[in-house]
Subunit: 159 residues, 2 copies
């Protein structure tokens, strides 16, 4: 099973660093724009947000930087749903270059929030939850996910 | 011991999302700019990069989003060195608002790279390594770090 592309963007000029490569944090910007596209696709779009004052908050992200990208590259983002519950979506976003090379992965925990209630966490609308559960079930058949979050550290060397 | 501020920035207008809050990924942009400031302070600055073709590559980051920020806020970033070896720096960057609230933490693994050699990993210049080792030793006296990287997941509920 191939994961469908949920977002595509050219590398924007303001994303480049002094090396002419995309600065690390702009991978996160591209993933964030991909999450906007996912929200639109799920029906958590601007109309929904204005009507309900509900939206998604990002709780945590873990990014792996795997390859460089530069001006002229077109980046595509795919989403794998790792898990969901009534309020939370745990998903891995995978970014590729035009040549197919995987350039970054972002493990992401999102929370559905009612901004008129605190803000406080709030259950997904039922059709959204059903869609996410369906995606999670389908994606569970894929091989074990790589490039997910993990604790980070350096193994001490003998002094 | 208080960690010194290594970077300060106002919230830039282009960082705001549809809610008028800083979009998640622009916390990462502010952390990336803070790492630029750290590099300048360590002597891994533009002159060094041009002379040696060496720089730092970001391997992985894990961000916790702890509080909202909005237009008018001034963000300050502090750095805690968690560990280093001859080529790698493992550091936790902590971002606060003007009111002192901790708004985000970024656990970060950086690699010193010689871009003329592949690129390939390369040992830090000796004075930089000594400075990092000194910081790591001092910061080891602090209480255990919170908001570091960790695996992410949702505990399954009984169906």
């Amino acid at each position: 099973m191939d994961l469908p592309v949920i977002f595509e963007t050219p590398v924007e000029p303001e994303w480049l660093d002094y090396n002419g490569h995309v600065r690390d944090a702009y991978y996160a910007v591209a993933f964030s724009l991909a999450i906007d596209a996912m929200m639109d696709d799920l029906g958590l779009d601007e109309t929904y947000r204005e009507r309900t004052a509900c939206t998604l908050y990002t709780l945590e992200v873990h990014l792996h930087f795997l390859a460089e990208t530069k001006a002229g590259d077109v980046l595509t983002v795919r989403m794998r749903v790792l898990a969901c519950d009534s309020k939370r979506l745990h998903a891995l976003f995978l970014m590729s270059r035009g040549d197919g090379e995987l350039v970054s992965a972002q493990d992401t925990m999102l929370l559905h929030v009612d901004q008129n209630a605190g803000p406080a966490s709030s259950a997904f609308p039922e059709p959204v939850l059903e869609r996410l559960q369906s995606l999670a079930k389908g994606h569970a058949a894929l091989p074990a996910a790589e490039h997910t979050a993990r604790s980070m550290g350096l193994r001490p060397k003998a002094a």
